[in-house]
């Protein structure tokens, strides 16, 4: 399957995770020329663990030695994690930012922050209000043009966010509820049609937000140096890209305004985002 500009091939010792992927990624194209950028393999830690308490080890071109296996019931999550891992460790074409991205009028809004800051949730809610979802996990910066490329994989919703987004996206296509993961309950949402149909369209970055959930509404402008450090920490391949990465990052922090925003609930956040977007 192809997500944005990146092709994947997923293999598994079991049929179930593949069947779920096939259903949820049905509308996605195949890798360019049939040659994927990355391979993902879900395999059993020991041959007998295929059947007996089946546990899925995340494999692929790039692996972390300390990733723990997941139960087979969480096979879809394992596949998503392994795909993310290939991007985090192996992506060299684009500067990779651990951020969600949405687009309107050809301009992109990037949101990055600590886990639980709500970047996936906010991106899904903005998409429900007409924005184009470009991705809820990674934003890809093209070092040559400075444009943001989409990586609209399945939106990963956690715990309370699942109900919030289900209410906001009545006709949404969801994956199965995966309970009891290391991050609590997880449910995947298939991005809206326009998000998949237009995934090859890049956008000009226009605003970078660092949201924080659970605080009274507040916002502050960030200095370029602080944005630079925060974004290099949010990038897994900044150093590996060398001078191309430096140029792309400098251009981003110089040209794109950045704000930290605190918000107590989704409605307040959406109001703040729309207001800041109007100014930018």
């Amino acid at each position: 399957m192809r997500i944005g500009p990146v092709g994947f091939r997923v293999g598994s010792d079991w049929r179930a995770p593949i069947a779920e992927l096939e259903r949820l990624y049905a509308d996605y194209p195949v890798p360019e020329g049939g040659i994927p950028d990355f391979n993902v393999r879900l395999f059993a830690a020991r041959p007998w663990r295929r059947l007996l308490r089946p546990a899925v080890v995340l494999g692929g071109d790039f692996v972390l030695p300390e990733a723990a296996p997941l139960p087979l019931a969480q096979g879809l999550l394992a596949a998503e994690m392994a795909m993310n891992l290939q991007m985090a460790l192996g992506q060299r074409r684009y500067l990779l930012l651990h951020a969600s991205a949405v687009e309107r009028d050809g301009r992109a809004l990037l949101m990055t922050g600590l886990s639980g800051a709500g970047k996936s949730t906010l991106a899904a809610l903005l998409a429900a209000r007409g924005w184009r979802l470009m991705g809820d996990e990674f934003a890809l910066v093209d070092p040559a043009s400075g444009l943001i490329h989409a990586f609209p994989r399945l939106v990963s919703l956690k715990n309370e966010a699942i109900e919030v987004v289900r209410a906001a996206v009545p006709g949404g296509r969801f994956g199965p509820l995966i309970a009891g993961t290391p991050k609590g309950d997880i449910r995947h949402l298939v991005p809206q049609t326009q998000s998949i149909a237009r995934m090859a369209e890049p956008a000009q970055p226009a605003l970078i937000l660092f949201p924080r959930f659970g605080f009274e509404p507040a916002q502050r402008a960030l200095r370029a140096s602080e944005v630079f450090v925060r974004l290099t920490q949010a990038s897994t391949n900044y150093v590996a890209l060398g001078e191309r990465g430096f140029e792309a990052m400098v251009r981003l922090v110089r040209e794109v305004p950045a704000r930290a925003i605190d918000y107590p609930n989704a409605d307040a956040a959406l109001a703040q985002v729309e207001a800041l977007w109007g100014e930018s």
């Binding site: 200095r223 140096s225 630079f228 900044y238 150093v239 060398g242 001078e243 430096f246 400098v250 110089r254």
Partner: protein, 104 residues
């Protein structure tokens, strides 16, 4: 280098050394705000620095100097509020540790 022994001994060693900066073409320097970014082409590493690191590099790029010469040069160009050799030694040691300055 093997800098061991007392701080006094260290200061005397620093005093005798000649310092050379990485050449200008090896550095991409971008002043952002109070901080300046330095991309070091030879190592591929990025350093975020504050004053007086860019000023020291600029002077040493003109010609290698020993510490006292460097201190004098800084004093000519800037209004030095704390012309302490020990502080300059500390700044030089940092620049040496990241490889932007080399002992000749």
């Amino acid at each position: 280098m093997g800098l061991t022994g007392s701080a006094m001994g260290k200061a005397m060693v620093m005093q005798a050394m000649i310092f050379r900066a990485e050449p200008a073409e090896s550095l991409r320097i971008q002043a952002l705000d109070d901080f300046t970014l330095i991309f070091h082409r030879r190592s591929g590493l990025t350093h975020l620095v504050t004053a007086p690191a860019p000023e020291i590099l600029a002077i040493l790029q003109e010609a290698p100097l020993n510490r006292d010469e460097l201190l004098a040069r800084l004093g000519e160009r800037y209004d030095l509020e704390d012309a302490s050799p020990a502080a300059l030694d500390a700044r030089l040691a940092e620049l040496i540790a990241v490889g932007l300055v080399e002992v000749q």
